[in-house]
């Protein structure tokens, strides 16, 4: 499986400068009351500066676990990682806790689905942003306050000066999400991790935040890893898409190819079952069944039990990543003929 991946890195990696993010054979497992849960089972990817990678998957696919692993945010005592994560030349999995604290916020930062979790309810938005700036950049309080104001203006919060003095609960959902983006960008990170940041928002607000994120990403030249379950959101923001299932990337490629020329039956099913009005009166195509239990994964292809094209050989060996095109790959034996 790894052999197949190595091929794809070789031609590009030699010419271009080293990518910002390199993840090799990452696995994450949790010890729980019911045994070991293998949430991520061998993920490889690279991400260049200024690109947006969207990890698309359903609940339990391991997409958020992968994202949190990029900052080692899982509870250390219950989690074990193997493989390699390198961000801007730093080996995340072997950093000490202190070094990790420095990387968080300044090199990598994160935004969440629920902004209330990112803010401390007893401090104002302005205080919290300024505090982060002071801690990471060691500037004076005045300079930090000024930067906080600039940041709120950058995320297009109306009457920003007044909002600096607001407490998190005094803001509406969309404003809080913008404030959290400002907090995450306060130290100009190279990599922004976004965990379904628009899922809880209303339709009209979701689009505003997506457009804002895209614009900021382009202006600041950051790389973004954006996790979502929504194909439509992915189409709006991604450069590259990785479709995740049972802890593995089962299809990766440029967003247009993954949506337009999908290779994997799961991606196909996901697209077919994404409801849109044109299907009125027709039966929706569905993927039968539910995602597998991560405590006892089936052997071979994890999607085999739900796949309409399943063959006996699918259940026998692990399916490698096949590359019909250099940048578009999928784990499905049907590509191999």
């Amino acid at each position: 499986m790894t052999a197949a991946l190595r091929q794809d890195q070789s031609p590009v990696a030699e010419a271009a400068p080293a990518p910002l993010v390199t993840v090799e054979n990452l696995t994450v497992s949790f010890k729980g009351g019911d045994g070991v849960i293998k949430a991520v089972n061998g993920v490889d990817f690279t991400l260049e500066r200024g690109k947006v990678l969207t990890i698309l998957g359903e609940s339990g696919s391991g997409k958020s676990v992968t994202l949190k692993a990029m900052m080692r945010l899982h509870p250390p005592r219950k989690t074990s990682y193997t493989g390699r994560i390198a961000i801007g030349g730093r080996e995340i999995l072997s950093l000490s806790d202190r070094e990790l604290g420095q990387v968080r916020g300044s090199v990598v930062s994160m935004i969440f689905q629920e902004p209330m979790l990112a803010f401390d309810p007893v401090y104002t938005i302005g205080q919290q942003i300024a505090e982060t700036v002071v801690r990471h950049e060691g500037v004076s309080r005045q300079a930090a306050d000024k930067r906080a104001l600039e940041l709120l203006e950058m995320v297009q919060i109306p009457s920003a000066a007044r909002r600096l003095k607001a407490y998190p609960h005094e803001m509406s959902g969309g404003m809080r999400q913008r404030a959290m983006i400002a907090l995450a960008l306060s130290c100009r990170p190279d990599l922004l991790l976004a965990d379904e940041p628009t899922t809880a928002l209303d339709a009209t607000v979701q689009m505003q935040v997506l457009i804002l994120l895209r614009q900021l990403q382009r202006e600041m030249g950051m790389a973004v890893i954006f996790v979502t379950h929504d194909m439509g959101v992915a189409a709006e923001i991604a450069d590259e898409v990785a479709v995740m299932y049972a802890g593995r990337f089962i299809e990766t490629g440029p967003v247009g190819d993954v949506i337009g020329r999908r290779l994997h039956p799961y991606t196909e099913g996901l697209l077919a079952s994404t409801v849109h009005g044109a299907q009125r009166g027709q039966r929706l195509e569905t993927i039968a069944g539910a995602p597998p239990n991560l405590a006892k994964l089936p052997s071979g292809c994890a999607f085999a039990p739900r796949c309409r094209y399943v063959e006996p050989r699918c259940r026998e060996t692990e399916v490698p990543l096949f590359h019909p095109k250099p940048d578009h790959a999928a784990r499905c034996l049907r590509i191999d003929r």
Binding site: E58, S59, P158, S172, G173, G174, M175, D202, A203, T204, V205, Q206, M207, Q208, L210, I211, R214, H229, D230, M231, G232, V233, A235, E236, A238, V255, G256, I259, G269, L270, A272, S273, T274, V275, H276, G277, Q279, R280, R283, L284, E285, T286, I287, A288, A290, P291
Partner: protein, 354 residues
């Protein structure tokens, strides 16, 4: 869809204001106008989709219909009988005919009861014997696609989200209702599971002659499943009509903005400018006149001073919108001026006197 037939549900001027209590003496300090003069009807066998953003009153409307909250004003007429009225339908009987499926599949099942007990609870309340109720529960489980032999003795925490929502649907159907309200019932499900449940809803509707009210913030899902659509904004109905009319020829600027905010699914043709700026305003003390005017690109003076009524645009499509631009002679510059415009008010006069 024959307009002459008696509608299954007729809602007239439904209104609910929630007081906000505060201060030492718990006195009313403000009111949330959660649902304000909402009227609509649902024909037999039809699916009415209700869309809107958070705080628009769609969930409150559902709870008012079920009488989980007492309405302040308004009438609900179920199949010709007024609900909770003197000679009408009692609330208890209404609840046998009208059932509801909630968004949170986990919270809406009692964690201490088995699936079978949860489904059989409703019929037992209405005097069905335990044995018959359990048989009915098993039959319904099979009907919603869950093998009764595997599921009757399970507890909610042992099921996946999709399975739990199927159980909730079975529970709602256990009383053999004629109308089922789905309050964001598929919103929390994964896309592939959502499609399965939508197929199930269509099958059940056909098989059991049901009528649906389908509340959702997901415009794609509403377009797929509904016959007619009701668009709500801050407690008011702003536009209603057939799916074809609402999605093909939206008239209210809010409906247009909502539709424009749907992701395109085409990476080559991304949305570049947001259709609306800002968040939906707080339903406490909403704007005067038209409630959408604070976010509307076409707002004029008339929008702040006068509340637009729901104006029929296309009777065949039962398409109506509450916007001054659609009301002939309303005084809005974009409105058709069929009736002669009234003489404009002359406030400058006052200035001279002062």
């Amino acid at each position: 869809m024959e307009s002459k037939a008696q509608p299954l549900l007729l809602v007239k001027d439904l209104k609910k204001y929630f007081p906000i209590l505060g201060g030492v003496l718990n006195r009313k300090v403000a009111t949330v106008q959660a649902v304000d003069e909402v009227s609509f009807e649902v024909a037999k066998g039809e699916t009415l989709g209700v869309v809107g953003e958070s705080g628009c009153g769609k969930s409150t409307t559902a709870r008012l219909l079920m009488r989980l909250i007492e309405p302040d004003e308004g009438a609900v007429i179920f199949d010709g009988e007024g609900v909770g009225e003197q000679h009408g339908l009692s609330v208890r009987d209404m609840r046998r005919n009208m059932q509801m499926v909630f968004q949170d599949s986990y919270a809406s099942l009692n964690p201490r009861l088995t699936i079978e007990e949860s489904i059989a609870f409703g019929p037992k309340v209405h005097g069905v014997s335990g044995k018959v109720a359990r048989e009915r529960a098993r039959a319904l489980l099979a009907k919603v696609g869950l093998d009764p032999n595997l599921f009757v003795r399970r507890y909610p925490h042992e099921l996946s989200g999709g399975q739990r929502q199927r159980v909730n649907i079975a529970r709602a159907l256990a009383l053999e209702p004629r109308l089922v309200i789905f309050d964001e019932a598929v919103s929390a499900l994964d896309k592939s599971v959502e499609a399965q449940v939508l197929n199930l809803l269509n099958d059940l509707k056909r098989e059991m002659n049901l009528t649906y009210i389908f509340i959702s913030h997901d415009l794609n899902v509403v377009q797929y499943i509904s016959d007619r659509v009701l668009v709500m904004y801050l407690g008011k109905v702003v536009e209603t009509g057939t799916v074809e009319a609402i999605y093909g020829d939206p008239r209210h600027p809010y409906t247009r903005a909502l539709l424009a905010s749907m992701p395109s699914m085409d990476p080559g043709n991304r949305t570049t400018a947001p259709a609306l700026t800002g968040d939906p305003p707080n339903p406490i003390n909403p704007p005067s006149g038209c409630r959408f005017r604070t976010r509307c690109a076409f707002a004029e003076e008339i929008c702040a001073s006068t509340e637009p009524r729901l104006e029929m645009i296309h009777p065949a499509e039962r398409h109506a919108a509450a916007c001054h631009m659609e009301i002939a002679g309303s005084g809005h510059s974009k409105a058709m001026a069929t009736s002669p415009p009234k003489a404009p008010p002359q406030p400058q006069h006052m200035g001279v006197v002062a």
